[in-house]
Symmetry: C2
Subunit: 284 residues, 2 copies
């Protein structure tokens, strides 16, 4: 399979490594935002741009019959993205796999599986410890903040603490900045601690994780307990999941299963290299 | 969907409860082994017989265009069962989902997903604490044993201890029986402890569990860590998973995707009741 990468930040670099490690893939190019038409030689393109640029590039590529994979991560807008791309894919015989990361992505598959195992009950997804991009950007936007890092700390039952580390601008007053952060809508609803530091760069770490728990009911039997944990390098996992999804996309296009899909709509076996017999014997 | 149950032991009873709890299913009958042709009014039949009888009944039903689900659990023979039933299903436009329980079954899906997330590395599946059917039957077959229970205790890295509780026949010598159990091929390769008790019935408990761990490599990034844990009622979970797979089988038959499949070949979304839009919004 010929795979291209569009966008070359943390995720694009990690995806490049995952493609090079895949036995059935060839990297045919790493492209920047303005030369996306050069991706035409690829079976699939990994869209590693910022989330808000995903739809534009995916639609262009899908309209040319090229498979795409993105890690679009705004949960409330995923269905709209799927609807828009699904029409383009079906009209042009392509496959777009959207929101292909770990959450949304593989966590979504685990949540679906746990629902199938115990249909009634509660699932809690506890994130971290790890950096929240959205909260970090929000903290950086506060007046007097030179640089920031917002860590997400899981407290259980889907409740999170925000640990906000900040480098102050020269002359900025810590108490004023702290009050502005605590009043911001991103932080006002969670337990938040603001901590001044000399260097945000010295704290840089792409580790992240999840603790996903469900207690539910199978048939009439209560107290069925499930737990899924990860401690991972965030861009490395996201890039790897996107590469595995590119494999699924190309296979689905070969079978004529056109359209835009989320990961809960994929067969796990399609994510893996190798023949069905070998994979069934090794994994089932 | 009209669902029937063939075989009415622990699993059949649990499946009945799961069908009754499903919003989109109707139980159209519970049948015994000799009247399986009466299942013809069903969209799908759950084959809850002993594992060695699965293939015969699945082939009869699939040849009549009826979907089947089984929890065939002899790992080394799963590919042969799939091959035999796949031909019958494709010739008769039916779908058979095989080895649909938790291991093989949902654990298989988790193992596949972890391979897609970190392709290089080791996965360990640690079973229990819980009763091993195979080891219990082997212990019961030893001369001097009136009744037995073999518990599987996980020691990590896929190594297990066997705790074998036995009720002795009148006049049997414990040391002789213990030596025979320890020499049996089922027990000779694991740490095994034999414990005499007054009543096996007093120990009866269908609790089981798994601890599935992987440390692997995403792209070029090592030390990616994953863990999946369950503590569950064994027949209740197996019955529920079979019912969820019946839903997937009927949907696949409607789409013309005929054949025999293991769970790693299913889309998680097909296991769940409801429309795609609702499920994507709730789970992704």
């Amino acid at each position: 399979m010929k795979i291209a990468i569009l966008g070359y930040g943390n995720i694009g670099r990690a995806a490049e490594q995952a493609i090079n490690a895949a036995p059935d893939m060839e990297l045919v190019g790493v492209f920047h935002h303005n030369d996306c038409l050069d991706c035409l030689q690829a079976d699939a393109v990994l869209i590693c741009t910022p989330t808000r640029e995903v739809q534009k590039f995916a639609a262009i590529l899908a309209s040319r019959g090229i498979c795409t994979v993105d890690s679009f991560d705004i949960h409330g807008q995923i269905w709209n993205l799927r609807s828009a791309l699904n029409a383009v894919c079906q009209a042009n015989k392509s496959v777009s796999i959207i929101s292909a990361g770990w959450d949304p992505g593989t966590d979504s598959m685990v949540r679906a599986l746990l629902m199938a195992m115990a249909p009634k009950g509660l699932t809690y997804t506890n994130f971290g410890p790890g950096r929240s991009m959205g909260h970090t950007v929000a903290a950086k936007a506060i007046q007097g903040v030179k640089n920031a890092l917002s860590m997400t700390i899981p407290l259980g039952t889907g409740i999170h603490r925000r640990m906000v580390y900040i480098e102050l601008e020269d002359g900025a007053d810590f108490k004023t900045v702290e009050a502005a952060i605590l009043a911001d809508d991103y932080f006002a609803h969670d337990e938040t601690h603001v901590i001044p530091v000399d260097s945000i760069d010295a704290l840089n770490n792409v580790a992240h994780g999840v603790n996903l728990v469900r207690s539910g009911v199978s048939g009439e039997t209560h107290n069925q307990r499930f737990e899924f944990n990860m401690e991972i390098n965030n861009p490395a996992l996201t890039g790897q999941v996107m590469v595995s999804c590119a494999r699924a996309a190309v296979r689905m296009r070969e079978r004529g299963e056109f359209g835009a899909k989320t990961m809960i709509e994929l067969r796990p076996i399609d994510l893996l290299p190798g023949a069905t017999e070998q994979l069934v014997k090794a994994l089932v």
